[in-house]
């Protein structure tokens, strides 16, 4: 589904990704573990086509199509979704209005207001989000945890093929992690894939992790099964630094 080959990326003069390789198959769940500042969010942003980052070499393919030629919204319409580490606040645009616009843009079909409202309400209640939030402006004045939950709401509404989750679990209380994790589990099936960046294993509880990757200084230095997650939480990243 997602195929990244030998990717090098710069932001301004700073080289952030250095020869990154990643291959995610249909139906798979991948976890990326890496220290702060190693370039994990950069990778997510590059897959989404953020204009701040320049690809100096390497390739990104999604379902066999070269992504780098596509604009951000085209990538989203192909079925890629990014749950942002720090979601933007957008004054004046309600959650409901934005999501309906997004869903229409992605599906290419007009969606009836009332029908959409019903659908949205149902998902909100599953995520234990107060229905009032539908008419609040996007992330404006939301707490850190509320923003994250709102990202999962969007994930479930837009139902993409590939979900990129950038620390969606950080800053959440125990119950919220459970809700978010349940939301991702509900989303996941054999036809879609997840790439999850996380610093703790909690979010993975309900998910069948296929692969875990250790991410250091702009590339993946070790890949393995779910066991890597507990390895890292016990020993940190130091053991892998030698390998890099």
């Amino acid at each position: 589904m997602l195929e990244i080959k030998n990717l090098y990326v710069k932001a301004g003069e700073k080289e952030i990704l250095r020869g990154l390789n990643l291959s995610v198959g249909k139906g798979e769940v991948h976890v990326i573990l890496g220290p702060n500042g190693s370039g994990k969010s950069t990778l997510m942003n590059v897959i989404m086509g953020h204009p701040k980052y320049e690809i100096t070499s390497g390739e990104i393919f999604f379902e066999g199509e070269d992504l780098t030629a596509l604009k951000t919204f085209e990538r989203a319409r192909r079925g890629i979704f990014l749950s942002f580490q720090t979601p933007e606040e957008i004054p004046g645009i309600t959650v409901e209005n934005m999501l309906r616009t997004a869903k229409q843009a992605i599906s290419g079909e007009k969606i009836k207001i009332l029908q959409f409202r019903k659908e949205l309400r149902a998902i909100m209640s599953e995520l234990k989000i107060n229905p009032e939030y539908a008419s609040r402006y996007m992330n404006v004045g939301f707490s850190g945890g509320e923003k994250k939950r709102n990202e999962i709401l969007q994930l479930l509404v837009l139902n993409p093929k590939l979900a990129l989750l950038d620390e969606t679990d950080s800053g959440l209380d125990v119950d919220a992690v459970e809700i978010v994790s349940g939301g991702v589990a509900k989303f996941h099936n054999e036809n879609n894939s997840c790439v999850i960046i996380t610093h703790n294993a909690q979010i993975l509880k309900h998910l069948p992790v296929n692969r875990a990757h250790i991410f250091l200084s702009g590339r993946i230095v070790k890949s393995g099964g779910a066991e890597l997650v507990s390895e890292v939480s016990e020993h940190g990243y130091a053991p892998y630094e030698v390998e890099s």
Binding site: G49, E89, I90, I93, I106, L158
Partner: protein, 465 residues
Amino acid sequence: MKKNYIQDIERALYDVRDEDKSIYKSDAGLTEEIIRDISARKKDPPWMLEFRLKSLEVYKKIELPIWGPDISELNMNEIVTYVKPNAKQVNDWSQVPEEIKKTFDRLGIPDAEKKSLAGVGAQYDSEVVYHSIKKRLTDQGVVYTDMETALVEHEDIVREYFMTLVPPKDHKFAALHGAVWSGGSFVYVPAGVDVKIPLQSYFRLNAAGAGQFEHTLIIVEPGAKLHFIEGCSAPRYNVTNLHAGCVELFVKEGARLRYSTIENWSRNMMNLNTKRALVEKNALVEWVSGSFGSHVSMLYPCSVLHGEGARCEFTGVTFAGKGQNLDTGAIVIHAAAKTSANINTRTISKSGGAATYRSAVKVTKNAPFAKCSVNCESLMLDDKSRSDTLPVMDIEGDEADIGHEAKIGRISEEAVFYLMARGISEEEARAMIVRGFVEPIAKELPLEYAVEMNNLINLELEGQL
């Protein structure tokens, strides 16, 4: 509201006027003869003629304002060319500029209405709609009519209030207005009457000769309530390019008046409009004001909080595109104790347009415990455009509580990226952000205006990328 149209152009009406045109041609400046002639055509009572002539005297003495946007394009020696009643009204659809026709199409305005809006003269039959409302209103003692009729049927009221709040000596264009005013709306709401439906002057201004120096006079007696909607949101095209209207609002004790307007003049217009409200004890005036079109605008609705506990809410949006210099804002004068005001504005500039927010808040010595909060935000859509905020505060009263917040910014590229990451195209993402920026204002507008404002914003943003 259902609208009715009469397609036929009343030829005779225009033909008569055409004949008169030549009279003015040789006159360079504004003369007593011209004023007398206007007055005679309008069948003014003698006091009004006198009023006009006095205004003319004042007009000749006052200089043009030396601050604000450049209005030197106005040739004051040729002022009479702006004044000729109706002479330059287009009477052929084919003469209406393409750009304006396109706007009408995009706004989805029906043909008959387009012609009416363009001032072509296909008369909009507001009478039919108007009469049905009128019955209910008159039963309550409400008067809603054009100024000319008011001058005949309610002469005493008009005489008592007319240009007492905006006296001709106020500034040059007020004086000009006093001399040559024509058309406009008159509303009188008796004490305690709650006018439940908003009154609209939607197309009244397209009546012959109006729309340039129209006068609006609204009196809301104690405890009464009114929502008045003025203007229209499609560009009104006039070949003559000066608009110097005047609005006077009298809001008596405990009364409430909401005055909503979207001004969207054609791009050749100098819009120098004067609007003022006198707000008595515990009364409330709410302004909702949108400025879109025109070449140059100077517009600062003023609220004089004259009685204890008087309040003002001002909500405004201004959008300046290519070739436009829109200088807008609000004035509040706290002249009594415990008066309060809220000013909330959004200005947008793009493609080299200039938008200035200018406000003056004055708290007099007689106004202890005044409260005023100003929030003005500006959005510049590109590097060529300009935005300024010029708030002036003059506080003499004790214990004043004054807050001011100003922001000038650009569209957040991160926000654009966020929306695009949700599948929304770049163009739509930017439009959404701009609409979101004006949303606090849009939600104050009557629905049809909010929709048209959104359409206008989309129009303005088209071709932006």
